[in-house]
Chain length 262, copies 2
DNA sequence: GACTATTTGTACGTATGTATC
DNA sequence: GGATACATACGTACAAATAGT
Protein backbone atom coordinates (compact mmCIF):
# COMPACT_ATOMS: atom_id res chain seq x y z
CA UNK A 1 0.00 0.00 0.00
CA UNK A 2 2.11 2.88 -1.27
CA UNK A 3 -0.09 5.78 -0.19
CA UNK A 4 -2.33 4.82 2.73
CA UNK A 5 -5.99 5.75 2.50
CA UNK A 6 -5.97 7.92 5.59
CA UNK A 7 -3.15 9.99 4.12
CA UNK A 8 -5.04 10.47 0.88
CA UNK A 9 -8.07 11.68 2.78
CA UNK A 10 -5.88 13.97 4.86
CA UNK A 11 -4.20 15.32 1.72
CA UNK A 12 -7.52 16.24 0.13
CA UNK A 13 -8.75 17.93 3.26
CA UNK A 14 -5.45 19.77 3.66
CA UNK A 15 -5.73 20.98 0.10
CA UNK A 16 -9.16 22.40 0.87
CA UNK A 17 -7.61 24.45 3.64
CA UNK A 18 -4.41 25.63 1.99
CA UNK A 19 -6.21 26.46 -1.26
CA UNK A 20 -8.59 28.70 0.64
CA UNK A 21 -11.73 26.72 -0.15
CA UNK A 22 -12.09 26.37 3.60
CA UNK A 23 -11.29 29.44 5.66
CA UNK A 24 -10.43 30.01 9.27
CA UNK A 25 -13.41 29.07 11.42
CA UNK A 26 -15.01 26.86 8.75
CA UNK A 27 -15.87 23.28 9.57
CA UNK A 28 -14.64 20.17 7.79
CA UNK A 29 -17.32 17.71 6.63
CA UNK A 30 -18.49 15.46 9.47
CA UNK A 31 -17.13 11.97 9.97
CA UNK A 32 -20.14 10.11 8.52
CA UNK A 33 -20.02 12.50 5.59
CA UNK A 34 -16.34 11.82 4.93
CA UNK A 35 -16.87 8.06 5.31
CA UNK A 36 -19.34 8.14 2.49
CA UNK A 37 -17.42 10.54 0.27
CA UNK A 38 -14.21 8.54 0.46
CA UNK A 39 -15.70 5.09 0.95
CA UNK A 40 -13.67 4.36 4.06
CA UNK A 41 -14.42 3.39 7.62
CA UNK A 42 -14.90 5.85 10.42
CA UNK A 43 -11.57 4.91 12.01
CA UNK A 44 -9.79 5.72 8.79
CA UNK A 45 -11.49 9.09 8.61
CA UNK A 46 -10.41 9.72 12.17
CA UNK A 47 -6.82 8.77 11.38
CA UNK A 48 -6.91 11.39 8.63
CA UNK A 49 -8.31 14.19 10.77
CA UNK A 50 -5.91 13.28 13.58
CA UNK A 51 -3.07 14.02 11.17
CA UNK A 52 -4.46 17.46 10.44
CA UNK A 53 -4.96 18.15 14.13
CA UNK A 54 -1.33 17.30 14.82
CA UNK A 55 -0.26 19.56 11.97
CA UNK A 56 -2.02 22.39 13.74
CA UNK A 57 -4.40 22.96 10.83
CA UNK A 58 -7.68 22.10 12.54
CA UNK A 59 -9.02 21.60 16.04
CA UNK A 60 -11.99 19.56 17.15
CA UNK A 61 -15.02 21.05 18.80
CA UNK A 62 -17.14 18.31 20.32
CA UNK A 63 -20.89 18.35 20.46
CA UNK A 64 -23.67 19.08 18.09
CA UNK A 65 -22.73 22.44 16.64
CA UNK A 66 -19.10 21.35 16.57
CA UNK A 67 -16.84 19.47 14.23
CA UNK A 68 -13.29 19.89 12.96
CA UNK A 69 -12.68 23.60 12.68
CA UNK A 70 -9.93 25.35 10.70
CA UNK A 71 -7.59 27.14 13.11
CA UNK A 72 -6.36 30.68 12.90
CA UNK A 73 -2.76 31.81 12.64
CA UNK A 74 -0.36 33.94 14.61
CA UNK A 75 -1.63 37.29 15.78
CA UNK A 76 0.34 38.77 18.66
CA UNK A 77 3.82 40.18 18.15
CA UNK A 78 6.28 40.34 21.01
CA UNK A 79 9.14 42.79 20.56
CA UNK A 80 12.13 41.24 22.27
CA UNK A 81 14.26 44.37 21.91
CA UNK A 82 11.69 46.58 23.61
CA UNK A 83 11.34 44.32 26.61
CA UNK A 84 13.64 44.84 29.55
CA UNK A 85 15.68 47.65 28.11
CA UNK A 86 16.10 50.38 30.68
CA UNK A 87 14.91 53.16 28.43
CA UNK A 88 12.03 55.58 28.58
CA UNK A 89 9.82 52.94 26.95
CA UNK A 90 9.87 50.45 29.79
CA UNK A 91 7.50 52.34 32.05
CA UNK A 92 5.58 49.73 33.97
CA UNK A 93 5.52 46.44 32.17
CA UNK A 94 6.87 46.21 28.66
CA UNK A 95 4.65 43.28 27.80
CA UNK A 96 1.46 44.94 28.90
CA UNK A 97 2.02 48.04 26.83
CA UNK A 98 2.95 45.86 23.85
CA UNK A 99 -0.33 44.02 24.01
CA UNK A 100 -2.45 47.08 24.57
CA UNK A 101 -0.71 48.86 21.74
CA UNK A 102 -1.82 46.02 19.48
CA UNK A 103 -5.39 46.51 20.58
CA UNK A 104 -5.85 43.64 22.98
CA UNK A 105 -6.70 43.31 26.65
CA UNK A 106 -3.73 42.35 28.83
CA UNK A 107 -3.71 40.70 32.23
CA UNK A 108 -1.28 38.57 34.21
CA UNK A 109 -1.06 36.18 37.12
CA UNK A 110 2.03 36.64 39.17
CA UNK A 111 3.69 34.10 41.46
CA UNK A 112 6.96 34.10 43.38
CA UNK A 113 8.79 30.98 44.54
CA UNK A 114 12.26 29.91 45.58
CA UNK A 115 13.67 27.12 43.45
CA UNK A 116 16.74 24.94 43.22
CA UNK A 117 18.36 25.64 39.87
CA UNK A 118 18.44 22.89 37.26
CA UNK A 119 21.87 22.33 35.67
CA UNK A 120 21.14 24.18 32.44
CA UNK A 121 19.81 27.24 34.28
CA UNK A 122 22.66 27.20 36.78
CA UNK A 123 25.04 27.10 33.84
CA UNK A 124 23.50 30.21 32.36
CA UNK A 125 23.69 32.08 35.67
CA UNK A 126 27.20 30.83 36.24
CA UNK A 127 26.43 29.33 39.64
CA UNK A 128 26.64 25.74 40.88
CA UNK A 129 23.69 23.47 40.10
CA UNK A 130 21.05 23.11 42.80
CA UNK A 131 21.81 26.50 44.31
CA UNK A 132 18.76 28.59 45.17
CA UNK A 133 17.19 31.20 42.99
CA UNK A 134 14.18 33.45 43.09
CA UNK A 135 11.64 32.52 40.44
CA UNK A 136 9.25 35.27 39.44
CA UNK A 137 6.59 33.74 37.22
CA UNK A 138 4.09 35.58 35.06
CA UNK A 139 1.23 33.81 33.31
CA UNK A 140 0.06 36.23 30.67
CA UNK A 141 -3.41 36.50 29.21
CA UNK A 142 -4.51 38.25 26.04
CA UNK A 143 -8.23 38.95 25.92
CA UNK A 144 -8.60 36.53 28.82
CA UNK A 145 -6.92 33.65 26.97
CA UNK A 146 -3.57 32.38 28.25
CA UNK A 147 -0.89 33.37 25.77
CA UNK A 148 2.54 32.92 27.31
CA UNK A 149 4.40 32.23 30.53
CA UNK A 150 7.49 34.04 31.65
CA UNK A 151 9.77 32.47 34.24
CA UNK A 152 12.56 34.75 35.41
CA UNK A 153 15.26 33.42 37.73
CA UNK A 154 17.49 35.63 39.88
CA UNK A 155 20.47 34.21 41.77
CA UNK A 156 19.84 34.16 45.52
CA UNK A 157 22.75 36.39 46.42
CA UNK A 158 21.43 39.08 44.12
CA UNK A 159 17.96 38.84 45.66
CA UNK A 160 19.48 39.24 49.11
CA UNK A 161 21.12 42.42 47.99
CA UNK A 162 18.08 43.74 46.17
CA UNK A 163 15.35 42.70 48.60
CA UNK A 164 12.52 44.02 46.46
CA UNK A 165 13.02 41.02 44.19
CA UNK A 166 11.49 38.94 46.99
CA UNK A 167 8.32 40.98 46.95
CA UNK A 168 5.46 38.74 45.84
CA UNK A 169 3.94 41.53 43.80
CA UNK A 170 4.57 43.35 40.60
CA UNK A 171 7.43 45.81 40.89
CA UNK A 172 6.06 49.15 39.68
CA UNK A 173 9.10 50.53 37.90
CA UNK A 174 10.02 47.11 36.54
CA UNK A 175 12.77 44.79 37.69
CA UNK A 176 15.19 45.93 34.99
CA UNK A 177 15.03 49.51 36.15
CA UNK A 178 15.16 48.44 39.78
CA UNK A 179 18.33 46.47 39.19
CA UNK A 180 19.83 49.34 37.22
CA UNK A 181 19.22 51.67 40.18
CA UNK A 182 21.10 49.26 42.43
CA UNK A 183 24.15 49.06 40.23
CA UNK A 184 23.18 46.12 38.06
CA UNK A 185 22.56 47.81 34.76
CA UNK A 186 21.76 45.10 32.22
CA UNK A 187 24.01 46.06 29.36
CA UNK A 188 24.17 42.82 27.42
CA UNK A 189 22.06 39.77 26.89
CA UNK A 190 22.17 36.39 25.27
CA UNK A 191 19.01 35.26 23.48
CA UNK A 192 18.13 31.69 22.57
CA UNK A 193 15.16 30.56 20.52
CA UNK A 194 13.83 27.01 20.51
CA UNK A 195 10.75 25.39 19.01
CA UNK A 196 9.38 22.23 20.59
CA UNK A 197 6.16 20.48 21.58
CA UNK A 198 4.81 21.53 24.98
CA UNK A 199 5.02 19.46 28.12
CA UNK A 200 1.62 18.41 29.49
CA UNK A 201 2.01 21.10 32.17
CA UNK A 202 2.58 23.80 29.58
CA UNK A 203 -0.27 22.49 27.48
CA UNK A 204 -2.72 22.76 30.34
CA UNK A 205 -1.39 26.09 31.63
CA UNK A 206 -1.63 27.68 28.18
CA UNK A 207 -4.72 25.68 27.23
CA UNK A 208 -2.99 24.46 24.08
CA UNK A 209 -4.81 22.42 21.49
CA UNK A 210 -3.08 19.25 20.27
CA UNK A 211 -0.76 20.10 17.40
CA UNK A 212 0.38 23.37 18.91
CA UNK A 213 4.11 23.79 19.50
CA UNK A 214 5.64 26.37 21.80
CA UNK A 215 8.27 28.98 21.04
CA UNK A 216 10.88 29.39 23.77
CA UNK A 217 12.72 32.63 24.16
CA UNK A 218 15.46 32.28 26.75
CA UNK A 219 17.21 35.49 27.67
CA UNK A 220 20.25 35.62 29.90
CA UNK A 221 20.91 39.18 31.06
CA UNK A 222 24.34 40.45 32.09
CA UNK A 223 25.47 43.47 34.02
CA UNK A 224 29.01 44.71 33.52
CA UNK A 225 30.53 41.88 35.51
CA UNK A 226 28.04 39.02 36.00
CA UNK A 227 24.91 37.26 34.76
CA UNK A 228 21.99 38.92 36.49
CA UNK A 229 19.05 36.77 35.52
CA UNK A 230 17.73 34.23 33.09
CA UNK A 231 14.25 34.64 31.73
CA UNK A 232 12.37 31.89 29.94
CA UNK A 233 9.40 32.94 27.88
CA UNK A 234 7.16 30.13 26.75
CA UNK A 235 4.89 31.30 23.95
CA UNK A 236 1.91 29.47 22.58
CA UNK A 237 3.11 28.90 19.01
CA UNK A 238 -0.22 29.50 17.34
CA UNK A 239 -0.73 32.92 18.85
CA UNK A 240 2.68 34.52 19.13
CA UNK A 241 5.62 35.75 17.17
CA UNK A 242 8.80 37.26 18.59
CA UNK A 243 10.61 40.00 16.73
CA UNK A 244 13.91 41.69 17.31
CA UNK A 245 15.69 44.48 15.46
CA UNK A 246 19.35 45.25 14.95
CA UNK A 247 21.02 48.35 13.65
CA UNK A 248 19.37 51.67 13.03
CA UNK A 249 15.74 51.57 14.24
CA UNK A 250 14.85 54.56 12.09
CA UNK A 251 15.65 52.74 8.86
CA UNK A 252 13.68 49.69 9.87
CA UNK A 253 10.70 51.72 11.02
CA UNK A 254 10.50 53.33 7.61
CA UNK A 255 9.89 49.98 5.91
CA UNK A 256 8.43 48.02 8.80
CA UNK A 257 6.47 44.98 7.68
CA UNK A 258 2.94 45.18 9.00
CA UNK A 259 0.84 42.37 7.58
CA UNK A 260 3.36 39.57 8.11
CA UNK A 261 1.89 36.13 8.58
CA UNK A 262 3.77 33.11 7.12
CA UNK B 1 -14.53 8.53 32.19
CA UNK B 2 -12.52 11.23 33.90
CA UNK B 3 -9.02 10.18 32.84
CA UNK B 4 -9.07 8.00 29.73
CA UNK B 5 -7.03 4.80 29.82
CA UNK B 6 -4.82 5.77 26.92
CA UNK B 7 -3.84 8.97 28.69
CA UNK B 8 -2.98 7.08 31.84
CA UNK B 9 -0.76 4.74 29.88
CA UNK B 10 0.83 7.70 28.12
CA UNK B 11 1.39 9.48 31.43
CA UNK B 12 3.23 6.48 32.92
CA UNK B 13 5.40 6.10 29.87
CA UNK B 14 6.11 9.82 29.79
CA UNK B 15 7.13 9.67 33.42
CA UNK B 16 9.61 6.91 32.59
CA UNK B 17 11.22 9.23 30.07
CA UNK B 18 11.21 12.51 31.98
CA UNK B 19 12.39 10.82 35.17
CA UNK B 20 15.36 9.41 33.35
CA UNK B 21 14.44 5.74 33.79
CA UNK B 22 14.43 5.57 30.02
CA UNK B 23 17.21 7.45 28.26
CA UNK B 24 17.70 8.72 24.77
CA UNK B 25 17.87 5.76 22.40
CA UNK B 26 16.14 3.35 24.79
CA UNK B 27 13.07 1.48 23.64
CA UNK B 28 9.63 1.54 25.22
CA UNK B 29 8.07 -1.84 26.04
CA UNK B 30 6.48 -3.43 22.97
CA UNK B 31 2.78 -3.18 22.26
CA UNK B 32 1.87 -6.73 23.39
CA UNK B 33 3.95 -6.11 26.51
CA UNK B 34 2.10 -2.88 27.31
CA UNK B 35 -1.28 -4.53 26.61
CA UNK B 36 -0.56 -7.05 29.30
CA UNK B 37 0.95 -4.63 31.81
CA UNK B 38 -1.94 -2.21 31.65
CA UNK B 39 -4.70 -4.67 30.80
CA UNK B 40 -5.87 -2.74 27.75
CA UNK B 41 -6.33 -3.50 24.09
CA UNK B 42 -3.69 -2.98 21.48
CA UNK B 43 -5.51 -0.01 19.97
CA UNK B 44 -5.53 1.71 23.34
CA UNK B 45 -1.81 1.13 23.69
CA UNK B 46 -1.34 2.64 20.26
CA UNK B 47 -3.43 5.69 21.17
CA UNK B 48 -1.07 6.20 24.09
CA UNK B 49 2.14 5.91 22.10
CA UNK B 50 0.68 8.12 19.36
CA UNK B 51 0.35 10.85 21.99
CA UNK B 52 4.01 10.54 22.90
CA UNK B 53 5.02 10.57 19.26
CA UNK B 54 3.12 13.79 18.71
CA UNK B 55 4.74 15.28 21.79
CA UNK B 56 8.08 14.63 20.15
CA UNK B 57 9.20 12.34 22.95
CA UNK B 58 9.53 9.09 21.00
CA UNK B 59 9.71 7.93 17.41
CA UNK B 60 8.90 4.56 15.96
CA UNK B 61 11.52 2.38 14.32
CA UNK B 62 9.95 -0.34 12.21
CA UNK B 63 11.14 -3.92 12.04
CA UNK B 64 12.28 -6.52 14.44
CA UNK B 65 15.02 -4.69 16.32
CA UNK B 66 12.83 -1.58 16.33
CA UNK B 67 10.12 -0.23 18.56
CA UNK B 68 9.27 3.11 20.08
CA UNK B 69 12.57 4.84 20.74
CA UNK B 70 13.21 7.84 23.00
CA UNK B 71 14.30 10.79 20.88
CA UNK B 72 17.26 13.05 21.40
CA UNK B 73 17.16 16.77 22.00
CA UNK B 74 18.51 19.88 20.34
CA UNK B 75 22.15 19.81 19.36
CA UNK B 76 23.10 22.39 16.76
CA UNK B 77 23.29 26.08 17.61
CA UNK B 78 22.85 28.70 14.93
CA UNK B 79 24.25 32.12 15.78
CA UNK B 80 21.97 34.65 14.13
CA UNK B 81 24.24 37.57 14.89
CA UNK B 82 27.23 35.96 13.23
CA UNK B 83 25.37 35.21 10.03
CA UNK B 84 25.32 37.81 7.31
CA UNK B 85 27.26 40.47 9.12
CA UNK B 86 29.89 41.91 6.82
CA UNK B 87 32.75 41.44 9.21
CA UNK B 88 35.97 39.46 9.13
CA UNK B 89 34.03 36.41 10.39
CA UNK B 90 31.84 35.96 7.34
CA UNK B 91 34.51 34.50 5.10
CA UNK B 92 32.80 32.01 2.85
CA UNK B 93 29.57 30.81 4.31
CA UNK B 94 28.67 31.71 7.86
CA UNK B 95 26.54 28.64 8.32
CA UNK B 96 29.18 26.20 7.16
CA UNK B 97 31.82 27.52 9.52
CA UNK B 98 29.29 27.49 12.35
CA UNK B 99 28.58 23.83 11.84
CA UNK B 100 32.17 22.79 11.41
CA UNK B 101 33.15 24.75 14.49
CA UNK B 102 30.66 22.64 16.42
CA UNK B 103 32.32 19.49 15.17
CA UNK B 104 29.89 18.37 12.49
CA UNK B 105 30.06 17.77 8.78
CA UNK B 106 28.35 20.48 6.70
CA UNK B 107 26.99 20.28 3.18
CA UNK B 108 24.33 22.11 1.20
CA UNK B 109 22.16 21.82 -1.87
CA UNK B 110 21.75 25.08 -3.69
CA UNK B 111 18.97 26.07 -6.07
CA UNK B 112 18.08 29.34 -7.78
CA UNK B 113 14.62 30.22 -9.08
CA UNK B 114 12.60 33.27 -10.00
CA UNK B 115 9.39 33.58 -8.02
CA UNK B 116 6.35 35.80 -7.79
CA UNK B 117 6.30 37.26 -4.30
CA UNK B 118 3.52 36.28 -1.93
CA UNK B 119 1.83 39.22 -0.19
CA UNK B 120 3.61 38.82 3.13
CA UNK B 121 7.03 38.65 1.47
CA UNK B 122 6.28 41.56 -0.84
CA UNK B 123 5.25 43.53 2.22
CA UNK B 124 8.60 42.89 3.88
CA UNK B 125 10.51 43.92 0.75
CA UNK B 126 8.27 46.93 0.29
CA UNK B 127 7.29 46.03 -3.26
CA UNK B 128 3.90 45.26 -4.76
CA UNK B 129 2.59 41.68 -4.37
CA UNK B 130 3.25 39.31 -7.26
CA UNK B 131 6.33 41.19 -8.43
CA UNK B 132 9.30 39.01 -9.30
CA UNK B 133 12.13 38.12 -7.01
CA UNK B 134 15.21 35.95 -7.10
CA UNK B 135 14.95 33.05 -4.70
CA UNK B 136 18.23 31.53 -3.62
CA UNK B 137 17.48 28.34 -1.71
CA UNK B 138 19.87 26.34 0.43
CA UNK B 139 18.98 22.95 1.85
CA UNK B 140 21.49 22.34 4.61
CA UNK B 141 22.74 19.02 5.86
CA UNK B 142 24.54 18.26 9.09
CA UNK B 143 26.35 14.92 9.04
CA UNK B 144 24.36 14.09 5.94
CA UNK B 145 20.99 14.63 7.64
CA UNK B 146 18.82 17.53 6.46
CA UNK B 147 18.78 20.16 9.19
CA UNK B 148 17.37 23.40 7.83
CA UNK B 149 16.33 25.23 4.69
CA UNK B 150 17.14 28.81 3.90
CA UNK B 151 15.11 30.72 1.34
CA UNK B 152 16.47 34.16 0.53
CA UNK B 153 14.52 36.52 -1.72
CA UNK B 154 16.05 39.49 -3.52
CA UNK B 155 13.91 42.06 -5.33
CA UNK B 156 14.28 41.76 -9.10
CA UNK B 157 15.55 45.27 -9.63
CA UNK B 158 18.36 44.65 -7.20
CA UNK B 159 19.30 41.43 -8.96
CA UNK B 160 19.42 43.27 -12.26
CA UNK B 161 21.85 45.71 -10.78
CA UNK B 162 23.94 43.06 -9.04
CA UNK B 163 23.95 40.36 -11.70
CA UNK B 164 25.96 37.89 -9.64
CA UNK B 165 22.81 37.27 -7.62
CA UNK B 166 21.49 35.42 -10.66
CA UNK B 167 24.40 33.02 -10.64
CA UNK B 168 23.09 29.54 -9.91
CA UNK B 169 26.08 28.76 -7.73
CA UNK B 170 27.41 29.64 -4.34
CA UNK B 171 28.87 33.11 -4.25
CA UNK B 172 32.38 32.71 -2.85
CA UNK B 173 32.65 35.87 -0.79
CA UNK B 174 29.03 35.60 0.34
CA UNK B 175 26.05 37.62 -0.83
CA UNK B 176 26.22 40.02 2.09
CA UNK B 177 29.74 41.05 1.24
CA UNK B 178 28.92 41.16 -2.46
CA UNK B 179 26.04 43.53 -1.85
CA UNK B 180 28.18 45.65 0.44
CA UNK B 181 30.74 46.02 -2.34
CA UNK B 182 28.03 47.28 -4.67
CA UNK B 183 26.75 49.92 -2.33
CA UNK B 184 24.14 47.92 -0.46
CA UNK B 185 25.72 47.57 2.91
CA UNK B 186 23.25 45.77 5.16
CA UNK B 187 23.27 47.95 8.22
CA UNK B 188 20.05 46.95 9.88
CA UNK B 189 17.77 43.98 10.03
CA UNK B 190 14.43 42.92 11.36
CA UNK B 191 14.23 39.42 12.83
CA UNK B 192 11.06 37.41 13.39
CA UNK B 193 10.78 34.08 15.16
CA UNK B 194 7.83 31.72 14.79
CA UNK B 195 7.18 28.18 15.95
CA UNK B 196 4.71 26.02 14.06
CA UNK B 197 4.13 22.53 12.73
CA UNK B 198 5.75 21.83 9.35
CA UNK B 199 3.90 21.67 6.06
CA UNK B 200 4.07 18.23 4.41
CA UNK B 201 6.65 19.66 1.98
CA UNK B 202 8.86 20.83 4.82
CA UNK B 203 8.40 17.54 6.63
CA UNK B 204 9.58 15.54 3.66
CA UNK B 205 12.39 17.93 2.74
CA UNK B 206 13.77 17.92 6.27
CA UNK B 207 12.78 14.29 6.86
CA UNK B 208 10.91 15.29 10.01
CA UNK B 209 9.41 12.70 12.31
CA UNK B 210 5.79 13.25 13.36
CA UNK B 211 5.68 15.48 16.42
CA UNK B 212 8.52 17.70 15.27
CA UNK B 213 7.77 21.43 14.95
CA UNK B 214 9.88 23.86 12.95
CA UNK B 215 11.48 27.09 14.08
CA UNK B 216 11.21 29.92 11.56
CA UNK B 217 13.72 32.70 11.57
CA UNK B 218 12.71 35.41 9.13
CA UNK B 219 15.26 38.13 8.60
CA UNK B 220 14.58 41.25 6.58
CA UNK B 221 17.82 43.07 5.76
CA UNK B 222 18.02 46.79 5.06
CA UNK B 223 20.67 48.96 3.47
CA UNK B 224 20.70 52.65 4.29
CA UNK B 225 17.67 53.39 2.18
CA UNK B 226 15.78 50.22 1.29
CA UNK B 227 14.98 46.58 2.16
CA UNK B 228 17.56 44.47 0.40
CA UNK B 229 16.38 40.95 1.02
CA UNK B 230 14.25 38.71 3.13
CA UNK B 231 15.62 35.42 4.30
CA UNK B 232 13.48 32.63 5.74
CA UNK B 233 15.29 29.97 7.68
CA UNK B 234 13.25 26.87 8.44
CA UNK B 235 14.91 24.86 11.18
CA UNK B 236 14.01 21.36 12.22
CA UNK B 237 12.90 22.02 15.79
CA UNK B 238 14.40 18.90 17.30
CA UNK B 239 17.89 19.58 16.03
CA UNK B 240 18.37 23.35 16.09
CA UNK B 241 18.49 26.34 18.34
CA UNK B 242 19.00 29.93 17.25
CA UNK B 243 20.92 32.33 19.45
CA UNK B 244 21.54 36.04 19.22
CA UNK B 245 23.51 38.41 21.39
CA UNK B 246 23.08 42.08 22.19
CA UNK B 247 25.44 44.49 23.84
CA UNK B 248 29.06 43.87 24.65
CA UNK B 249 30.17 40.51 23.21
CA UNK B 250 33.14 40.37 25.56
CA UNK B 251 30.96 40.31 28.67
CA UNK B 252 28.74 37.61 27.27
CA UNK B 253 31.67 35.49 26.11
CA UNK B 254 33.03 35.50 29.64
CA UNK B 255 29.94 33.75 31.00
CA UNK B 256 28.72 32.03 27.87
CA UNK B 257 26.37 29.13 28.58
CA UNK B 258 27.74 25.99 27.04
CA UNK B 259 25.67 22.99 28.14
CA UNK B 260 22.28 24.59 27.55
CA UNK B 261 19.52 22.17 26.69
CA UNK B 262 16.01 22.97 28.08
C1' DG C 1 -35.36 21.49 32.85
C1' DA C 2 -35.92 17.40 30.15
C1' DC C 3 -35.36 15.24 25.94
C1' DT C 4 -33.43 14.33 21.45
C1' DA C 5 -30.39 14.65 17.59
C1' DT C 6 -25.77 15.35 16.03
C1' DT C 7 -20.92 15.08 16.42
C1' DT C 8 -16.73 13.76 18.28
C1' DG C 9 -14.22 10.66 21.97
C1' DT C 10 -12.96 6.24 23.98
C1' DA C 11 -12.32 1.31 23.76
C1' DC C 12 -12.66 -2.96 22.21
C1' DG C 13 -12.07 -6.91 18.55
C1' DT C 14 -9.99 -8.68 14.19
C1' DA C 15 -7.31 -9.23 10.06
C1' DT C 16 -3.63 -8.31 7.12
C1' DG C 17 0.52 -5.66 5.48
C1' DT C 18 5.35 -4.08 5.84
C1' DA C 19 9.94 -3.66 7.62
C1' DT C 20 13.83 -5.57 9.85
C1' DC C 21 16.69 -8.89 12.07
C1' DG D 1 12.18 -18.27 5.85
C1' DG D 2 10.64 -17.30 10.39
C1' DA D 3 9.99 -14.25 14.22
C1' DT D 4 9.13 -9.75 15.94
C1' DA D 5 7.54 -5.18 15.84
C1' DC D 6 4.80 -1.49 14.22
C1' DA D 7 1.18 0.18 10.32
C1' DT D 8 -3.14 0.13 8.06
C1' DA D 9 -7.99 -0.80 7.87
C1' DC D 10 -12.11 -2.66 8.79
C1' DG D 11 -16.07 -3.52 12.26
C1' DT D 12 -18.73 -2.56 16.72
C1' DA D 13 -20.48 -0.31 20.85
C1' DC D 14 -21.11 3.08 24.11
C1' DA D 15 -19.81 7.70 26.31
C1' DA D 16 -19.59 12.71 26.42
C1' DA D 17 -20.45 17.28 24.77
C1' DT D 18 -23.36 20.52 22.67
C1' DA D 19 -27.43 22.69 20.20
C1' DG D 20 -32.03 22.91 19.50
C1' DT D 21 -36.99 21.62 20.73
Amino acid sequence: MPEPKYRKVAAELRELITSGALRVGDRLPTEPNLQERFGVSRNTVRDATALLVNEGLVESVPGRGGGMVVRKKVTLTFHAHRAEMPGPTAETDAWRSEVEQQGYLASQDFKLTIEALAPDLADRLHVVPDSSAVLRQCVRYVNGEPSSVQNTYYPMDLANEVQELLSPRDIPQGTTRLLAERGYLQLSYYDEYVSRMPTPEEASLLRLQPGTPVLLHIRTGYSINRPVRVSINVFSGDRNRVVSTHGDPAIIAKFLPEEAAE
